[in-house]
Symmetry: C2
């Protein structure tokens, strides 16, 4: 493109608009709006094209009027529950991307799984006048947030639902994904399947346990109490739980791990044993395809969860006045080897 | 300690914390959290002791009284450069732990490797009146921070040094670690060694390149320009760079990766090739010991970097008045297999 041509398509002082992005990407305006707002219904390929057009044109949502009016930089807060869990990397990055398209800064904090800390952090962010909050809750009572929401702080919960208040929520299909994972193990001949999950007060841990029990019941299989272990994801706890199930007189022949922290520990546990044990993990993780055997997982789309949550948040910030929505993001079973190991005869 | 002594030594963060309550009541933090949040699982006697400690210390669960009185909760900001790089997980968590011990909240943000974004974020955090900042810089000119530092915002730089201002800094020994890594490959018989690193404007990338060149020179080995490739850590870029080095008429027989993002991509690249190629990566990463061959790395102590940085920050917040310090955290070569592969004859 010549300078003149560029000059005519982008006159001095004009900023690229969503229309420019749509034209360059060869898609409709609504599609650009969906991508910018992190709404569902866009194929990955289309989204990539739109993102490329956004980058090429230097497109930014024009929120400056709003920022000037308020006298400060727009910002949203993201409350995580564990800074070291890689599940939150792509989720955080997706929220940040959407925030950036809206000209807003993202400020994170971590509750470190402590409900009191979550509350302290949320209120501190509100006191710093964030425009909205994306919360991965540690606690199960969020009535403390009601005055803030009433005062106009848009709030979206991700990964786990809000407790005792109504709010926009984005969840993975923990129940369906877990049921599919366990059905997959059953289809490969397993009858004694162990479940090692997160603490039972956590919504996703409960849902994944329910998926496990439902799949077992659907296949007419009993569940021995000794096959279920919920608790922290500390490696030592997971090690002990796995050993108890694997060294029992009638050992489990397969394990279903309730999240990626548990799965990674189980990969280490199983590598030290001679008899092969099948393994399916909830959550994908980096290099799951490169360890041996490669790990079969129920993959969550963490980036899509983040995008969807941020999209709902900015809808609220732009004035959407509608009842709280609950979006459920599907999971996907990825068979890589560890989940297709058949039980030894007997 | 008398109240007066406490007042003078702790002008920062004087509010009693849950930890103080736990210590006084002789119970764990979790128990205090349960009592404060009205959760079950606490005996009446324990609850009474916790309540007495709360009263004696004047602990307030609800921050609003204190926020009104003091204007804010003690907090420090942490500016990362990439939310999805797992190197920052343990670093963030360590900073958070230290902050918590000081009764302060940690607020994170990410520059996404954009110097303008870094500045915007840092100033937004200052406008929100954080007490101090830990910064992993994306840019190399931090004069914009000088007025904030003069106004009392303690600031520590981690992983990369500050540009054009003096400030406390915590770095890994990028130079020494890289020199050792390349010397290790040379000791295993390699003469043609490729280096794929991060963008050359980044301090650590430059230091690691310097380590590579120093080790090669010390062994009397020439460095072909085609063996050095600096740029983004995008998988596609790394793929292309690696292919060019490995498919050359005189291919490299070993690769040194400048950070964990590069290493993970190289593990994938090398797995698709038949001829074994040696690999050492700068940065350890989860599961590096479980892929095949296990990956030899120069491990950085990210948690120690975070702890050290936060320690320096709170020294400043507590009134330390001394010239800026520069701490260098040693690295450690961990031989696991990939770095001990010898070159094919010829």
């Amino acid at each position: 493109m010549t300078d003149t041509a560029r000059g005519s398509s982008r006159r001095y002082g004009t900023r690229p608009t969503m229309k420019d992005v749509a034209a360059r990407a060869g898609v409709g305006l609504k599609t650009v709006s969906r991508v910018v707002n992190g709404e569902p219904g866009v194929t990955p390929d289309t989204e990539r094209r739109v993102q490329e057009a956004i980058t090429a044109l230097g497109f930014r949502r024009n929120d400056s009027a709003r920022i000037l009016r308020k006298g400060r930089t727009a910002s949203i807060g993201l409350v995580l529950e564990d800074l070291a869990d890689p599940f939150y990397g792509p989720l955080s990055r997706a929220v940040e991307e959407v925030a950036r398209h809206h000209g807003a800064l993202l400020i994170n904090g971590s509750s470190a799984e402590d409900p009191a800390r979550e509350q302290e952090l949320v209120l501190a962010l509100c006191a710093r006048r964030v425009d909205g909050l994306v919360v991965i809750p540690a606690g199960d009572d969020h009535r403390y947030l009601a005055p803030e929401i009433a005062a106009g702080v848009a709030t979206v919960f991700v990964d786990r639902p809000a407790g005792r208040i109504e709010a926009d929520t984005v969840l993975s299909d923990s129940f369906g994904g877990s049921r599919d994972a366990v059905a997959h193990l059953i289809a490969h001949g397993h009858r004694r399947i162990g479940f090692i999950g997160d603490q039972p007060r956590i919504h996703t841990a409960k849902e994944r346990l329910r998926g496990y029990r439902t799949a077992m019941a659907a296949a007419g299989l009993p569940v021995d109490d000794a096959w279920v272990s919920l608790g922290t994801t500390e490696p030592e706890r997971v090690h002990t739980a796995a050993r108890a199930m694997l060294d029992a007189p009638e050992p489990v022949t397969a394990l279903f791990a309730g999240n990626n922290r548990v799965t990674v520990t189980l990969v280490r546990v199983l590598r030290q044993r001679t008899a092969p044990v099948a393994l399916v993990g909830f959550d994908d993780f980096e290099l799951a395809d490169l360890v041996s055997p490669a790990v079969t997982v129920v993959a969550q789309d963490a980036a899509r969860m983040g995008r969807t949550a941020a999209g709902l948040l900015f809808r609220r910030l732009e004035g959407a006045d509608e009842p709280p929505r609950r979006e459920e993001i599907p999971t996907r079973l990825i068979a890589r080897g560890s989940g297709e190991i058949r039980p030894a005869r007997g």
